[in-house]
Amino acid sequence: MSLLEVKNLTLRIGATQILHAVDVTVGHGEIVAITGESGSGKSMTALAIMGLLPQSSDARGTILLNGTDILQTSEPDLCKMRGNTMGMVFQEPMTALNPVQTIGDQVAETILIHEKTSKADAHKRATAMLERVGLKVPPTRYPHELSGGQRQRVVIAMAIALSPKLLIADEPTTALDVTTQARILDLLRDLVQEFDMGLLIITHDLAVVADIADKIVIMQHGRVVEAGPTAHLFAHMQHPYTKALFEASSHAVDMPEAAIAAPLLQVENVARDYPVARKTILGPRPMFRALEGITFQINQGERIGLVGESGCGKSTLTRAILGLEDVQSGTITVDGAPVFTGKQPNLAVRRKMQVVFQDPYSSFNPRHRVDRLITEPFHLLQDPPTGPARDAAIASALTDVGLTPADATKYIHEFSGGQRQRIAIARALIIEPALIIFDEAVSALDVSVRAQVLDLIADLCRKRPLAYLFISHDLSVVRTVTDKVMVMRAGRIVEQGDTETVFTNPQHQYTRTLIAAAPQLPAIAV
């Protein structure tokens, strides 16, 4: 009998049907991945298995863990199982830990809850577990002193402290860097082998699935659409949704030839410092060097990528290029004119640049209508169009991004994430800037939506020569939409060159590490 057998699981919350007849099986020492886009019901399935569904839920079917039906088990008995026979790791490591307790205490708590043992013994075992998960800090630290990757290790330590038979990990690496992700996935794999655990991993990232999972379950709209051993499924996928998902994940965008012309943006030896908290009362204020020796150039019509992990200085560089912040040394010019001009922005320079941000839910003022939202850049023009000319500009901007002029009178909350990014692109394009910065612009989107937005960008390039700086931590996306790429680390550009060259023949050690760490989707015939 398998470790975990979910049979015919149906879930209703209030009036909404969340899951329909879901089947999942996990065996000892087996890694099963549930994958799908947002709203597919993956997380709800995990919560159902743990018995952590919200109180107004109505769940039917059977969830057998080692023969015990979770759905028929009382809450006190479930409490005995959680952390003991089954453990769970969640997505957001930054908020998963109690901020006022040491990490040692929090791991020891798992042990103390379930076993009658002394505090000293629990702490000893907790310390051992923290070491086992590769954490090199003392257990007396508090969560706020740790990075995201370190916190996630603590969460894993808490979950496996009592060697549970089943570990559920809900998007455990989504919030982490590529290199950290690789290490956490390695850790999970090791633990599965060492403890003969079953691991149920939930992820939207097909590449991660291909990397780690023995079996894969594909969900859409609360239903299991297809399931099977990973390699087999990738080689012989049946369901159209699976094919679409796969295609979108490995989507190759058809980019037109770049029409490169004169230099546009020139960044020359830029350095940027931030003051940090004082350690001593007297003496100079300590500085953190966020950018060092940054030099590159973007020509008109050129499409450049920028990859790097969190904390490498991407956002600092973006703000400096946009002229929002000054730099301590070096110059940034657009068509020869400096971008930063103190308190009064130089509108003539600023109107040549626009930006598209990452979070479609934070990019717009919820109180304004779309027409007002996308005409905000008009503030940069000397003679912004008014009346019918303005309406025409709005209408054409909306149609260019695949929406309709009628959308101009709606509020932003009426649109989905993908549509909002289109509106963001419309806002960026409406004054026809020479340069657009895409700052992780597709990172928060579902795979299929992401593919559509990338296609949109390619289309726009076809209509008019567009120069852009495409910032992303997702290497596969950068590879498909850029001609040149720069790799950033700790405030420096460690490598730059033609995209294909850098990807196929990386020179710098860090670039190699980055490319090696990124999980790959196998190439298949779809």
Binding site: M50, L52, E75, P76, C79, K80, M81, R82, G83, N84, G87, M88, F90, E92, T95, A96, L97, N98, P99, V100, Q101, E109, T110, I113, H114, Y142, H144, E145, V155, M158, A159, A277
Partner: protein, 314 residues
């Protein structure tokens, strides 16, 4: 941690200095000639001159301010014009009524509010929660001095469990506390209503946080997660409110004293205001503000004890 404490201490000292400047400015500078103001329209010129000399009004403002502050630090609060006695003597006895009253009320308020707020949050939406929310909604709307009158009516006049007023002195501590009980309850209940609501909403916020979900995934029951994880975190924002509450309790106590004929700072202030005895008013206000700033400093220290993020700011 040391840096945090030093920082708070500096803040305390600066606040005290600025507050003292403000009080001094309002009392001694704005009326123009404080002596003439105090003595009124019909005063004789030589009386005014005598008072001016006694108050040292011919000296420059800055000097007067420094003398006043150094006097305060040495415990010399000046001499009351109406009572012709050192203000420090006038204050000394009365402070021992007003301050304990405020502390008593704070304790009562906390003892009532915390369990009520925690209970309401843990049974959210249930009958207990709704009852408590209803009671607090009412409690917040009740003026404490009116509530005091009602308490006197019921418990002192009708039931005769307590005396209707007066304070027998601290020689018999139990009797003293008994005489402060009705006043403390009158003060405490409306504040407890506010505190209970804040506790409840702070706790509800915590219960929605991710780390509570992690705790449940470890096998903690709802109750264990509430007490071991949520409550301690919920206390942090509640601490701010307690600091503010103390200043309101101190001020409210001054009003309540009127209802219960307590010989506290209240009577002293109001009589001094009528008598235009600015010296007394100045000193008492400075004292009240000092106590409030001190309590807030202690609350800040308590923060660092509860929240390790403040201790190890890097």
């Amino acid at each position: 941690m040391i840096r945090y404490v030093l920082g708070r201490l500096t803040s305390l000292i600066i606040s005290l200095i600025v507050a003292s400047i403000v009080i001094f400015a309002v009392i001694e500078v704005i009326p123009g000639d404080p002596a003439a103001f105090m003595l009124g329209v019909n005063a004789r010129p030589d009386t005014i001159a005598a008072l001016r000399a006694e108050m040292g009004l011919d000296q420059p403002v800055a000097v007067r301010y420094f003398e006043w502050v150094t006097g305060l630090l040495q415990g010399d609060f000046g001499r009351s014009w109406t009572y012709k006695t050192p203000v420090a003597d006038l204050i000394a006895d009365r402070v021992w009524v007003s301050l304990p009253l405020a502390i008593y009320a704070l304790l009562l308020s906390t003892i009532i509010a915390f369990p009520a707020g925690i209970y309401a949050a843990s049974r959210r939406g249930g009958a207990g929660d709704i009852t408590i929310m209803g009671a607090t909604q009412l409690g917040v709307a009740i003026p404490n001095f009116w509530f005091a009158m009602i308490l006197v009516l019921i418990f002192a006049i009708n039931l005769r469990w307590f005396s209707a007023g007066g304070f027998p002195g601290w020689d018999n501590p139990l009797l003293a506390i008994k005489s402060l009980t009705l006043p403390a309850i009158a003060l405490a209940l409306p504040q407890a209503a506010i505190l209970a609501r804040v506790m409840r909403s702070s706790l509800l916020d915590m219960l929605g946080e991710d780390f509570i979900r992690t705790a449940r995934a470890k096998g903690l029951t709802r109750r264990q997660a509430l007490w071991k994880h949520a409550v301690r975190n919920a206390l942090i924002p509640v601490l701010t409110i307690i600091g503010l509450q103390f200043s309101f309790l101190l001020a409210g106590g001054i009003i309540i004293e009127q209802v219960f004929f307590l010989p506290g700072l209240g009577r002293l202030i109001f009589q001094s205001i009528s008598a235009r005895d600015l010296i007394v008013v100045e000193s008492v206000v400075m004292l009240l503000v000092f106590v409030v700033i001190l309590v807030n400093f202690l609350v800040d220290l308590a923060y660092a004890v509860v929240d390790p993020r403040l201790r190890t700011k890097s």
